[in-house]
């Protein structure tokens, strides 16, 4: 069983996919690493440069791990293992 990364909202237009499976190889991976891998794989510049962003100023996505906001876990250092679900979406904040 792999790590499932679900993509929502306008990020689907940039990535061209709704879901990607990545492997933690039977161990764990940092959330930041998973998102950078996704960025490389799908050509998503915002995700590729995630490691260099100042998280305290916020990023343009909501990221959830099994239904919990990543900031309530260990941020990009949250360890993810096969079988977990990461959801990523820019919020649809207009009305």
């Amino acid at each position: 069983m792999a790590i499932k990364v679900k993509i929502f909202g306008t990020l689907r237009l940039k990535s061209g996919v709704k879901e990607v499976e990545l492997s933690a190889g039977g161990s764990t991976k940092r959330l930041g690493q998973i998102l950078q891998e996704l960025g490389q794989q799908r050509g998503l510049e915002d995700l590729k440069r995630l490691g260099s962003l100042n998280l305290s100023q916020g990023i343009p996505f909501i990221i959830m791990v099994d239904g919990k906001n990543y900031m309530q876990l260990r941020g990009l250092d949250t360890l993810i293992q096969d079988g977990q679900v990461v959801a990523i979406f820019p919020p649809s904040a207009g009305g």
Partner: protein, 203 residues
């Protein structure tokens, strides 16, 4: 009804036609020409009117017996939810004021039905007053860069219709009838798919 833009006008129209007795409309803004592509209660001759007045005029034309309370205010710290409001539709268009509204609802013990849209995407979630899942938890870590959102009439009507149905769930069945408490509905109108994400309360 917090916000009378694309979502708010769609929610109001649905609820008034469904027979809801009393709505409190809150918006500080005036109708502009650029609103007419999606804000379904307004017409060209309404440009320049306060949105609460233009919306009320149209809603009374739809159903003269509806009771409306009009509040020309911006949602910001220091204002309070009307004490009679049991359920609030979040139809605002920026995150900071949505967080203020969420906090006002928590204090007033009112249910919040949050809706948002961007292009052909949208989302809906319902926040119970005593839940530890707040909008500020869901959006934690998000940047507040000011942004003009691409809003499309059809998307507003779909998201607004879902918000209105959730409000009807509450009116007819109470909190047990709510579909989206601790859940986030994500709507994709490119391929007409919807997916519900479960939200786990923070410890």
């Amino acid at each position: 009804m917090a916000g009378l833009g694309g979502l708010g006008t769609a929610v109001c129209a649905s609820l008034v036609r469904a027979g809801v007795g009393h709505l409190i409309l809150i918006d500080f803004d005036h109708v502009e020409q650029s609103n007419l592509n999606r804000q379904i209660l307004y017409c060209a001759k309404d440009v320049g009117l306060a949105k609460v007045d233009a919306a009320a005029k149209r809603l009374f034309e739809i159903r003269p017996t509806v009771k409306l309370t009009l509040v020309k205010k911006r949602i910001e710290k220091g204002i309070h939810i009307h004490p009679k409001a049991e359920i609030v539709a979040d139809c605002l268009d920026d995150l900071p004021s949505r967080f203020v509204l969420d906090e006002m609802c928590r204090k007033a013990q009112a249910v919040l039905v949050h809706g948002g849209t961007e292009g052909l995407f949208g989302q809906v979630t319902t926040i119970l007053p005593d839940s530890s899942v707040r909008l500020s938890n869901i959006y934690k870590g998000i940047s507040f860069e000011p942004k003009i959102h691409a809003a499309i009439c059809s998307s507003c009507m779909v998201v607004g219709a879902i918000q209105a149905l959730e409000i009807m769930n509450f009116i007819l069945k109470g909190r047990e009838g709510l579909a989206f408490s601790n859940k986030l509905l994500s709507i994709d109108l490119y391929d007409f798919s919807m997916e519900t994400l479960r939200l786990i309360p923070p410890v």
